[in-house]
Structure formats: structure tokens, C-alpha cells
């Protein structure tokens, strides 16, 4: 598979996304929320720096996911609906290259926006005297992986259904992904073998997104081990790759009528 073609599609997707002003609206609100953390924290007598960072890190994660879903669900659908895909796929490129290029371009866009939010967070933290540590970098790294996974899910659903349904499915997967550990623990605590098996299977199939959330560790300066970062990193890239493989398999079979 030619990486040049994937890079060309990714670059084009990035260029289009950067010029799409709608995505900036969510970025604007995210930065406003990060800034508002300084106001909220000033109302507290204790641990104002931690409150500021709790609000800011939550904003980065939630708005990052919202942008990923909002832009991602239209990713392939819009190309097919507007028939721009016809001229692209009439060139000597495979559908897998097209899909991977779109995914890479959008992930880069989301990472750029997350970096903007991160920069705003760092400025607000430094201005308020809240400490910045390497845990914040670890948080940023894992949020980046989580956002890539969400983009992959949006790409998967966008490749065969409408934006509305794709938004529903992607948001659903992300929300369930925040609860899969509780689901597994709930099943394990049950004395019904059937329920245990179902929850164990759900834990294996559904994404475990809690492992990407290091906001508490970053905001409170809690210790982190290398495995706290590396294991979610490997898991995230592996899960993303599987989702993309499934998306490609579905997209390959589609007829563009």
C-alpha cells in the first residue's frame, strides 16, 4: 500500500478540516471553559489550582471527543453523499487507502485542536500558579490515543450509515467505554454464570476508555508507573487498528449508487 497516497488524502483532509470554520466553534467553547476554570477556582479557598486543572483537563477530554465525533461522523458520509468520492476512487487507489487517509487526516486535525486546548490549559495554569508536571504530558498522550480511537469508531460508522446514526453509535460506544470496568466488576460480583460470561465478553469487545483517563493523576500530582501509560497506549493503538480493519472490510463491500 502506497504511503504517498494515504499521505496525500490525509493532507487534503487536514487542509479541508482546518478551513472548516464550524469545527472552530467547539474549540472556542473548550478554550472558554478552560479559562473559566480560573474563575471557578478563585471562588474556592482550598486547592484552587487543582480545581482549575480538574475543569481544564475535563474540558480538553470532553471537547476533544465532541469534536472528534462531530467531524468524524461526516467524514466518509459527506464524500459519498456529495459524490466527491467518485473522482478520488477513479484514481489508482484502493478504498483502504482512501479510508486510512481520511482517518489519518482527521486524527491530525483533532490532535492539532487538542494541542491548542493543551496550550490554553498550560497558559491558564501557569498564570494561576498551578503546577505543571510530566503527568500532564502523560494525560495529553493518552487523550490523543483516545481521540484517535474515537475517530476510528466515527470512521467505522460513517462508512456505512448516516451521520445521525453514526453520531448515536459513536457516542454510545464512547459512553459505554467509560463504564466497561464497572460492568465487568458488576458481572464478577454476580453469582449468575451467564451474567458473568456476558459482562466478561462485553469487557473484551467494548473499548475500555477509563484506562486513558489520567486527569486525576495529573491534576493531583499522583504517582504514575510506566505501565500506566504504556499499556493503554498499546491497547489504544491495537483497538484502533481493529476498528479500522473492520471499517475497511465494510467499505470495500459498498456499492456507491
Amino acid at each position: 500500500m502506497s504511503a504517498t497516497v494515504v499521505a496525500a488524502i490525509a493532507g487534503n483532509t487536514l487542509r479541508e478540516s482546518v478551513r472548516n470554520k464550524i469545527a472552530y466553534a467547539l474549540l472556542f467553547f473548550a478554550i472558554v471553559m478552560i479559562g473559566s476554570g480560573a474563575i471557578v477556582s478563585s471562588l474556592s479557598y482550598v486547592e484552587s489550582g487543582r480545581i482549575l486543572q480538574d475543569v481544564g483537563l475535563a474540558a480538553i477530554r470532553l471537547f476533544g471527543v465532541a469534536i472528534a465525533i462531530f467531524v468524524g461522523i461526516q467524514l466518509v458520509y459527506r464524500e459519498v453523499e456529495r459524490r466527491t468520492v467518485y473522482t478520488i476512487l477513479s484514481k489508482p487507489i484502493s478504498r483502504a487507502q482512501f479510508l486510512l487517509g481520511k482517518f489519518a487526516g482527521l486524527t491530525l486535525t483533532i490532535w492539532l485542536q487538542a494541542a491548542c486546548m493543551g496550550a490554553a490549559f498550560a497558559i491558564v495554569s501557569l498564570a494561576s500558579g498551578a503546577p505543571l508536571a510530566w503527568q500532564h504530558l502523560a494525560f495529553g498522550l493518552l487523550v490523543g490515543v483516545e481521540l484517535a480511537l474515537v475517530v476510528a469508531l466515527a470512521t467505522l460508522f460513517s462508512s456505512f450509515t448516516t451521520p445521525m446514526l453514526a453520531a448515536f453509535f459513536t457516542t454510545g460506544f464512547w459512553a459505554v467505554g467509560q463504564l466497561t470496568r464497572e460492568l465487568r466488576d458488576l458481572g464478577a460480583a454476580s453469582d449468575q454464570p451467564g451474567l458473568q460470561a456476558v459482562t466478561a465478553l462485553a469487557f473484551r469487545v467494548l473499548p475500555d476508555l477509563q484506562s486513558f483517563d489520567l486527569a486525576t493523576e495529573a491534576a493531583h500530582g499522583l504517582p504514575l508507573t510506566a505501565s500506566d501509560v504504556l499499556l493503554p497506549l498499546v491497547y489504544g493503538f491495537g483497538y484502533t487498528a481493529l476498528v479500522l480493519l473492520l471499517a475497511v472490510a465494510i467499505f470495500e463491500r459498498r456499492d456507491f449508487r
Binding site: N12, R83, P92, I93
Partner: protein, 312 residues
Amino acid sequence: MKQRDVAVSVEGVVKDFRPGFGLRVRRVLHGLSFRVGRGEVFGFVGPNGAGKTTTLKVLMGLVRPTAGRASILGVDVGETESRRHVGFLPENPYFSELLSGRELLHFHARLAGVPASARVRRVDTLLDWVGLRAAADARIRTYSKGMQQRVGIAQALVHDPHVIFLDEPMSGLDPIGRKEIRDLILRLRSEGKTVFMNTHILSDVELLCDRVAILVAGRIRYEGSPHELLEGTEREADVVAARVTPDTVVALEERCGARLRGHGDKVEIRVKEKSLQELLAMLLASRAEIVSVTPQRDSLEQIFLSAVEGRR
């Protein structure tokens, strides 16, 4: 046609769609077979819903055939490589409005594998060709329909393909735009390119195409050169004459098989082209005045309509 002379080959292609929940099957193409030779301008003609665009999508790999096979320059259309030397202009093309015409062409040139060293010059040449040099850096959302069609043609030709597929290339264009496209097709033919053109416009087929296939309800009713198609039919001519005596009228009907209609002191006579000379001689001999002779120019249209109505 020898195998090496074949640019496009379609053999027994069947396409079924499953509309709605997929409980019913709707067959759009019924075992379609035809070939297009290298260097030919091939017209694919048919009414709306005949399956022309579906056939083109099968050839572009956008739709998978249910059965049969198709190939371009000997490579199966299921393989990415089949599109290496192919340019495609879809009907009413649409491009990202956020890009400029130049950016779009550079993007498509990269996809098509045009080397970086040749890309700038190739894009500039094409912008000149299609008359978009002045608007090259404007966003496509500011382009008129004609300009979008032209940038669509430029992206189809950006890698100097051997085979060019055009889906209703005249659609929505004004007379000047249509003439430009016609000139472009003639230019491509003179360069030895193969052009496959879906169209409704029969005058273009007659003017541009070396061969034509008429598709009706997913089946090919006719395939051949426009000349061959017309040869198989008896063309007619309309003659308007004055001072035609009743005896001459009877003679014309009996000897030439002419059909006459009176218009005041003039008579309109429809006659087969093969009997035209004899009819004119009889009229002159009877001292009638010949006002006009008009060969019928819509014969291809008649053939087309006959094919659509299932009369032929």
C-alpha cells in the same frame, strides 16, 4: 477486434440492487457485453434509468458486478491497477468547496501518481487547456457550473490517461461550454485517446462517436458505428413543391411511394432517399416548381426511439 486493440471489455455483466431492506432484487444490468477499441470515441446512449451510469460505475470500481467481468486495458476492474491509465468525469461533478482549482488538481495528480517534478507544469498546462488559469487560486465554491465542469475535466486528464470516461459531459452546459467539450473530445481523439461517453445528446453522438451502443433497460439494443446504424435504415427527405398537377400526384404516389400533404398551393412530399432523384426528375418534367428539399437529420433519434419503444 484483437485483444490488444481492446481498451474496454464488458462480458456478461449483471448488476442487481437490493432497494429498501433488501428483500427484493432489482436487476439493473442484464448480462451486458460490449467492447471498445483503442483510440475510439464510443457513445453509450440510452434513456434515463437504462443503466448507463451503473455501467460506468462498474468500470470505475464504484459498483461491484453481481456476475460477469469487465476490464480496462486488459486489467480486471476489480483491481486498483485497472484505473492507472483512466480518467473519469462523473455527471454533475462536485468537488470540495474548501479547495482552490489548483489545489484540487495537485491533489488528484498526487493520487494518480504524477511525479512531483512534473506536477506543477502538468497542472498549469491543464488549467490553460480548460481556461481556468485566471481562477486557479479561487475556492471552488466561487466557481460557476461550467467552471466546475471544466475543473472536473482537468482532474480527469491530470495524469494524461489513455482511456477517458465521461458521464453526460454536456449536462447543464451552455452552447459555448458544449462546443468546448466537443472540441476537447475531438482533440483527445486526435491524440489517440479512447473516449467512452455516456450521453443523451444524439447530435453529439453523430458528430463525435466512432461507435455507439444503445442501452435500454439494462440491455444493449444496438451496437455499431453511427454510419452503420443509419445504413440499416431507409432515410427519408421532405420535398416542398408548387404547381403539382393531379396526374403527377398519382404518379408520384404510385412510382415513388411518396406521401403527399397539401399546404395551400404547395404540396409537401415525403419520400425515401433512394427514390428522391426519380421524384425530383418527375416533378421537373411536369414543370412543377421545387421549393425546397430537406433531408431528414433525425434518423439516429428515430433509431434511438425505436429501440426504446422496442420496435426494433
